[in-house]
């Protein structure tokens, strides 16, 4: 199934961002959920209205007696199973559909389509901010700069150095737990330049509300200028290969 998706993606010429994938699924679920909710609630309200007590007994009404051994009603079993079956089909279909897209999101774009500027960044959450370590060894706090590009894949390895945090960027629809002692992976497509807010989504202490940061997707030239600047100016690491060769 993943191959089909890969073909689909490659055919269209570009990978889908997590944001697009989420919007599609969310819309589908929202539409189906609303329809189901409206139908079921409307039917419930209808029954509630139609069978309100008017003093007359409806057909087949048999008053229960105080102290009877409880029995059920068998007459409506067929309707019950029909409704149950229908709702089961809807629920299962909708989740299976979501599963197909899950496989894409889990692994991200395949590495067959490489571009300059694809890179891996180490993200370390701490009380109360985010540390980013670039391939050349440079570390920055709270601001992650990446170059823009079609099919530009940025992969993040996320951990924490104290308590559990959660690294989330709402506008890019990416999110991952930052667990001390573990490293989790997330990816996003840096296709549109702009600034995206990072927030922490797991209670981590007194500064949890203020633990925000920024992902700045820059034009490639501006990014390279900045990145080269970090390497020459600040880094005391041994010589690192240039960005182009990283890919």
């Amino acid at each position: 199934m993943i191959d089909l998706l890969v073909l689909q993606q490659q055919a269209s010429g570009s990978w889908r961002t997590q944001s697009e994938v989420f919007s599609e699924i969310f819309l589908v679920f929202l539409a189906i959920g609303t329809v189901v909710g409206v139908v079921v609630i409307a039917y419930t309200l209808y029954n509630g209205y139609r069978y309100r007590d008017t003093g007359e007994e409806p057909d087949g009404f048999e008053a229960p007696q105080l102290g009877e051994l409880p029995t059920g009603q068998d007459g409506k079993s067929k309707k019950l199973f029909l409704s149950f079956g229908l709702s089961a089909i809807i629920v299962i279909s909708v989740v299976v559909y979501s599963y197909t897209l899950l496989l894409y999101v889990e692994s991200g774009p395949s590495s067959e389509v490489e571009t300059e500027g694809n890179m891996d960044v180490q993200v370390t959450g701490f009380q109360f901010g985010w540390q980013f370590e670039y391939p050349n060894g440079q570390t920055e706090l709270n601001t992650l700069r990446v170059p823009a590009g079609e099919n530009q894949v940025i992969r993040l390895q996320i951990t924490s150095r104290d308590v559990m945090h959660n690294f989330g960027v709402t506008e890019l629809r990416i999110k991952s737990d930052a667990i001390p002692g573990e490293t989790s992976e997330e990816w996003f497509l840096a296709d549109e330049p702009g600034s995206y807010t990072i927030e922490c989504f797991e209670l981590c202490g007194i500064g949890h509300s203020q633990m925000s940061g920024e992902i700045i997707v820059m034009e490639p030239d501006e990014f390279n200028e900045w990145y080269d600047g970090t390497y020459e100016g600040a880094s005391s690491q041994t010589a690192a290969v240039e960005t182009e060769a990283e890919s």
Partner: protein, 827 residues
């Protein structure tokens, strides 16, 4: 002391063991916690009004305390106790029993619950309460990150609460399986009782796991063990332990409300439940499946894709029986005669809220959507719709059973006004959370675009909160001056409680309730003298052990002070433990003779600890010596536990729960070791002392069997000798263990947090797990000493039960050791 003072005296309420009184105590206390948790919620909503202004003090600490306490109080101290207030009052009535199986244990459950709430309240004043969220994620729950004494106090308060509910669980399991009226099989029970049965089965296994997690956390916080220090897998370990409990817990909270819904839908539509058999099966299926879905709370951790997918499948699987329940209720209304009284308004409203909440739950079950909903207000809105929305039915239950409990009728118009205000306020506040769903959880600063939603939500929250006062006023006014209520104010009510007066008499029934003829009848109580009843149940032969201990010429007891005393002692003990780590400076020295213990901080904490232990032991002994008589029913439907005596059944249920506690400890050990790489560890302690100890314990299992034989043969000397031998062997076990630990700490250098042969966590796991086992041995020896003294006084020669049941416990302790020995000493 079995005469009860009148209800107007305070003493009555401290002494009572009657299930109806205990139910009322639960209802009142839970309502107090509703107010406490509700005020905290309103504080949160005020703080959320403007993200730029801080109202609650302490930087973020005050807010974090508020959000943590709100969750803990609502989930633990309000919802389930409120539901169990009704369960206590009504389950015995619905099944035709005289009381719960173990009335003193029931009172103990209440007092442990009430005092655990006091302990939690005190934690606010011990430097501030826990700030880690009600989910207490690791390592935020460790002292390095939540250092206050109050944080430890909060953890201990929760553990005390778990002890309370475990006692309640055993009690309800035995009651429902042992005390049903003749002719009432399991499938014939009313739906409210069924929902309680499913609830307590879940509680048995879920809370045992949580108790293990809390014991480990308490050990980390007080003794300095290192389970939840992160780098060895501690964060994930807590996640698994907590959510294995946490998911069944949400159904534990919900099921009683579902049971109330099912009763009210039948009563107020005049129809019997559609698909009753399937509804019962659905309840059982959900209870079982609830233990198979827990990792859907961990989709964003580093668990692998395969297990995530499996958990997604099981999560969808568990939504299906809920669909059936919802449709069964809707179809029950069809062709009915629905009367829109206040109980039905709340039950009906509850169903609508539950449908909405349930649909949003399906969203969360799709992993790819959960990736975005994690840690946001979508989750908060979802669980408030299902949990609080479901619990709305409990409010309906309050109106439904108010006339039965008080004998007065509430004001119907005020009830309807309450419902309107409640339903509007509820939807305004919780739907606003959906419109602002991208807000992170547990924050007080958030993005500007969400401000309007949150402000609308705050207004709704106040309407919701204030609506409760309409109900309080209604109930107070009606209790004092309302019209008298008849036995059955609800046309079409079917269950047995409506056949009694409002309120029912202290001992419930005049005759013996029986459904043998197909409907409720009250028969002559069987006359039994001398100790053996002519116990028949569908024609079985006489000599049914289950009823052999009915002493017909003795009157049932209803009062005891020892539950109150034991609860208060436990409060003192745990209060002491909360601060003891900071109050004592222990200098290990170079050998046990050189250990120095100095008082460093306040003397209060060590003092409370000692006083608590002494008082608890004293209460326990007095409890054991008290002449309290709780007769089992002479005639009852007990399938599938026919012929098992009441107290034995209770002991088996208790041991099942203890199996899960040790199971969780062993699972934790295995998890941590697999995380480190199984083969990278070698067995830590030398195996010879452990091997000798295994032989010692197995021999003591033999001597405890000999004790039972001696008791049955009425041999006082044989009984004393074998109990004495068991005690000696137990002391031998502890001595060898003491020598072994001394050697390891002082000669080898392996302590709780240091390990020259591997990672510190390996030593921690060894000491804490075998330490818990050792604690079980010590408790067993205390009970055995009590038995020895009583054997000397000539007891247990006619009634061998205490010896037999102690034997069951002792065998359990020995079998646990048979598992621990290879795990820690051989591999």
């Amino acid at each position: 002391m079995s005469e009860l003072p009148p209800t107007s005296s305070l003493k009555r309420w401290l002494l009572t063991t009657n299930h109806k009184d205990v139910g009322i105590l639960y209802l009142f206390t839970a309502t107090f916690f509703l107010l406490f948790g509700g005020v905290l919620a309103l504080l949160l909503r005020i703080e959320l009004w403007d993200p730029a202004t801080a109202i609650i003090g302490g930087g973020g600490t005050g807010y974090n305390e508020t959000v943590t306490a709100h969750g803990l109080i609502m989930v633990f101290w309000f919802l389930s106790p409120f539901a169990f207030g009704f369960a206590n009052y009504l389950v015995p009535l619905q099944i035709g029993a005289d009381d719960l199986a173990f009335p003193r244990l029931n009172a103990l459950s209440y007092w442990l619950y009430a005092f655990s709430g006091v302990l939690f309240g005190i934690s606010f004043f011990q430097g501030g309460t826990m700030t880690g969220g009600w989910t207490l994620y690791a390592p935020l729950n460790m002292p390095a990150y939540t250092p206050t004494i109050g944080s430890t106090g909060a953890v201990l308060a929760i553990a005390m609460f778990v002890a309370a509910v475990t006692a309640s669980t055993v009690n309800f399991l035995v009651t429902i399986h042992h005390s049903r009226a003749e002719g009432m099989g399991l499938m014939d029970m009313p739906m409210f009782t069924w929902s309680i049965l499913a609830t307590v089965w879940m509680m048995l296994f879920a809370f045992a796991t949580y108790l293990a997690a809390l014991l480990i956390l308490s050990s980390d916080r007080i003794l300095g063990s290192t389970y939840f220090s992160a780098t060895d897998g501690g964060a994930l370990l807590w996640g698994h332990l907590f959510w294995f409990f946490g998911h069944p817990e949400v159904y534990i909270v919900l099921f009683p409300a579902l049971g109330v819904m099912l009763e009210i839908f039948q009563t107020f539509s005049g129809n019997r439940l559609v698909g009753r058999k399937w509804v019962t099966i659905a309840l059982v299926l959900i209870a079982i499946q609830s233990f198979l879905v827990w990792m859907h709370h961990m989709f964003l951790t580093t668990i692998n894709l395969e297990i995530k997918t499996l958990m997604m499948a099981t999560t969808i699987g568990i939504s299906l029986p809920f669909d059936l329940l919802v449709f069964a209720m809707i179809y029950t209304l069809a062709k009915g005669r629905i009367r829109y009284k206040t109980p039905f308004l709340f039950a009906f409203g509850s169903l609508l809220l539950f449908i909405l909440g349930g649909i949003t739950g399906v969203f969360l079950g799709a992993i790819i959507l959960d990736y975005q909903f994690r840690g946001t207000y979508w989750v908060v809105a979802h669980f408030h719709y299902v949990m609080f929305g479901g619990a709305t039915a409990l409010i309906g239950g309050a109106y439904y059973w108010f006339p039965k409990i008080t004998g007065k009728m509430y004001d119907e118009l005020l009830g309807k006004i309450h419902f309107a205000a409640f339903f509007i306020g509820f939807n305004v506040v919780y739907f606003s959370m959906f419109t602002a769903w991208e807000t992170p959880r547990r924050v007080f600063e958030y993005q500007q675009s969400m401000v309007t939603s949150h402000q609308i939500g705050t207004v709704g929250a106040f309407v919701l909160g204030l609506s409760f006062f309409i109900m309080f006023y209604n109930f107070a006014k009606s209790y004092v001056a309302g019209p008298t209520a008849p036995d059955n104010p609800w046309e079409f009510a079917r269950t047995a409680e409506w056949a009694l007066s409002s309120p029912p008499p202290l001992e419930n029934w005049d005759g013996r309730p029986s459904y043998a003829s197909g409907h409720l009848e009250f028969l002559e109580r069987e006359d039994t003298h001398g100790g053996h009843a002519a116990a028949t149940d569908g024609g079985h032969a006489t000599g049914n052990e289950a009823s052999d201990y009915v002493l017909g010429d003795k009157h049932a007891s209803h009062a005891s002070i020892w539950p109150f005393a034991a609860g208060l002692s436990t409060l003192a003990l745990l209060l002491g433990l909360s601060g003891i780590a900071g109050s004592l400076a222990i200098d290990p020295g170079s050998s046990i003779a050189g250990v120095g213990v100095a008082l460093e901080g306040s003397v209060i904490y060590p003092l409370f600890t000692v006083v608590g232990i002494v008082a608890l032991l004293y209460s326990g002994v007095k409890w054991g010596l008290e002449d309290f008589y709780a007769p089992p029913a002479a005639v009852a439907n007990r399938w599938p536990f026919d012929r098992i005596e009441k107290t034995k059944l209770g002991m088996w249920f208790f041991l099942a729960s203890d199996v899960l506690v040790f199971g969780a400890f062993i699972s934790a050990a295995v998890f941590i070791r697999v995380n480190a790489g199984w083969r990278s560890w070698e067995a830590l302690p030398a195996s010879l002392p452990g091997l000798i100890n295994t032989f010692v314990l197995l021999t003591s299992s033999f001597t405890v069997v000999l004790a039972l034989v001696a008791s049955r043969r009425r041999s006082r000397k044989g009984l004393m000798a074998s109990i004495g031998a068991t005690i000696l062997l137990g002391l031998t076990f502890l001595s060898i263990k003491a020598w072994e630990w001394h050697h390891e700490i002082y000669d080898v250098g392996i302590t709780l947090s240091q390990n020259p042969h591997g990672p510190p966590v390996q030593a921690t796991i060894y000491y804490v797990t075998t330490g818990l086992h050792g604690l079980h041995v010590i408790i067993g020896l205390i009970v055995a000493t009590f038995l020895l003294v009583r054997a000397y006084q000539g007891y247990y020669l006619d009634d061998h039960r205490p010896v037999e049941y102690f034997g069951l416990y002792w065998h359990f302790v020995d079998i646990v050791w048979v598992f621990l020995f290879p795990l820690f000493y051989l591999f």
